[in-house]
Symmetry: C2
Subunit: 384 residues, 2 copies
């Protein structure tokens, strides 16, 4: 029997906060089509979202509990959440993949909020969305991105607990670096070994593992691994979004294979210093823009990454962004990555990343902090 | 250095087929926002799509090579694909996340096709899409779901090779079932052990592993695992979408822990017979609806799953659907799952799944076929 990830009180709290905002914004309902939002209000968690075949809908009314409008294949699992009202449709369906049921649920709501802004998407066919709007001529669909992102970016104690757990698991896995990675190893094998270590340490899944390796730095931070073999003088960076009970960590670690140049060692220390400086400023009341400026001053110009951190939680990256134009004011309970990057003279770069939670005082690091000096892996040399 | 997954000729062939259809349908361009379609025409493969922050666009003109319109963070990796024309925008951006660059690329095209139908979604902010349409008053955006699904559902030899490889890897992992799963084991640990085995056998990732376990069957096929322990008499089902070079397998296996009732054994044999019967009919020229009817006759009424199989490839599930109303005519090179399910008298169900490729003659099974009788795991009993 699948038990909910959180007690009903967690979802009641989320709903209450959403409904308070909805009333303030004169929204009669919210409509969600995407996995994190459906899960946020219902607790419905399944990898079945990997299949693009069927749409899933959740309606949050301004009063009363959310209503799920879902394919029959999900009725059993949704029935074990805290929701009471679950409307099921046959899917795939020749002509009507849930739209008539959804229309019935939304009928009568004058203003319906949906995520339409930055970082959002529409997980249903555009043609069906147009049909839905046409079938509800009395309803205005309006952007509720700020509402939902504002709620989700402040984590509850229970959420912080899970993120803390997955950060600890990944920290334990990185701790094994000297056993896992070595000169002569293909990068594909290094990635494979690290994924297995993450699972063995207790991660549920590793939906995200990217990285780079190259002599004196790397030029890319989003690539899959190649068969290229690690060599002495390479800098290996692994950046993982491992997952536990549907929550992510998101941080990286850098390692020198055998040795590193003075420039790279210095650049690494600069990134650590930038992280320290940002953590010093990361207090309730400070803005994301201020954290960005703090790190930008340390690293003296950035890279193509475009920002120096972001929120994380049910998704690998979430609002807010630690970037020059994001004036989001930090609040206690926000979970953030600090992710400064630095350009090297050879055209390559280094990126460093930690995960913190904003507290009433100094932030807590959820990641076991990286060593202040670039770690050197030398298994081959020492014969370990 | 990341090498493309396929030679340029593979992408040239895909483009040529698309452009032939575009001319037939009087489409001057196609616009894609989703990972599989961007990858299909460019070869751009990264787990960075896990981050919802930035939109990515690919424009396929009726003549000439595709144009990528992407965030700067992806320029290096996209630069290693076969594409020549890569337009980069700064992202995240305060006001313009690529829309003005995209508008410039699309300007002048009268009819622009996009996926808007069954199984599609829009991976960009709705508000930005509305802005894009408003900035191109001379362009009509129209549904091109059939065009892109029609192309993607027929796989090339290279694609079939990769899917075949991941099916073999998962078949090898299932072969170890008697070493991996046992009475007294928590389901979470069974899942973990199987994921590690899949990676050790050569899978790149395991984005999808669901399953069920229960006395005499299971009631749900999309749940994450619980801490419940496997017991004698349980039927354990694991359904995996493991991944290699961006292509999925998608099949399951059923196991009896210790023993199973006659009803369950008979139901299992019925599913195998249904799969055999469908494979016998799976020839070029047959329809998906005919395969569905063949299996429905064998199992005598279905479950809430709603269909008995589907396409697979770059996604866990793809068009077509093996369902009563899908009149798609099978063609050589289509890769399909055959996935009959059967209801049991206790209200539970069994599901069985194999992956095949349509050939000029009998289909090839890409999965190592399940045993004709329900396998019994009895490690504890035999002391193995």
């Amino acid at each position: 029997m699948v038990e909910p990830d959180f007690p009903a009180s967690e979802f009641e709290q989320r709903l209450e906060s959403a409904q308070r905002e909805m009333r303030a914004q004169d929204l009669q309902a919210l409509l969600f089509t995407t996995e994190p939002e459906v899960r946020y209000f219902s607790g419905f968690r399944t990898q079945f979202w990997q299949s693009p075949t069927r749409p899933w809908f959740l309606v949050v009314p301004a009063r009363g509990k959310p209503v799920a409008v879902i394919p029959a294949i999900g009725a059993d699992l949704m029935g074990r959440t805290w929701l009471d009202d679950i409307r099921v449709f046959t899917s795939p369906h020749e002509r009507d993949d849930g739209i008539s049921v959804l229309t019935g649920v939304l009928d009568g709501y004058a203003r319906i909020g949906m995520p339409m802004g930055r970082e959002t998407s529409l997980r249903m066919p555009l043609a069906d969305f147009d049909r839905l709007r046409a079938s509800l001529p009395g309803s205005e669909f309006t952007d509720a991105t700020g509402l939902i992102q504002g709620l989700r970016m402040v984590k509850s104690g229970a959420e912080i607990g899970v993120i803390s757990d997955i950060c600890a698991i990944a920290s334990n896995a990185f701790q094994k670096a000297n056993d896992l990675f070595y000169a002569g190893q293909a990068l594909t094998e290094a990635f494979r070994a690290f994924k297995i270590e993450l699972l063995a340490q207790g991660a549920d899944d590793v939906p995200y593992l990217v990285g780079g390796a190259g002599s004196g730095g790397y030029s890319d931070v989003i690539s899959p691994p190649t068969d290229q073999c690690l060599q002495a003088g390479d800098i290996l960076m692994l950046d993982t979004g491992a997952n536990l009970t549907g929550y992510f960590c998101d941080f990286d670690r850098n390692f020198a294979i055998g040795h590193a140049s003075d420039e790279v060692r210095t650049a690494y220390r600069t990134l650590i210093a930038a992280t320290d400086a940002a953590a010093d400023r990361a207090r309730p009341g400070a803005t994301c823009a201020a954290l960005f400026q703090t790190m930008a001053l340390c690293v003296g110009g950035g890279s193509d990454v475009g920002r120096y951190g972001h929120g994380l939680g049910m998704q690998l990256t979430e609002a807010p962004s630690i970037i020059s134009f994001d004036q989001t004011v930090l609040q206690e309970g926000m979970v953030l990555t600090l992710e400064p990057s630095i350009a090297l003279s050879n055209g390559k770069m280094l990126v460093h990343e930690e995960n913190i939670v904003i507290r009433d005082g100094p932030p807590d690091f959820l990641t076991r902090r990286a060593s202040p000096d670039l770690p050197v892996l030398d298994r081959a040399r020492t014969g370990v």
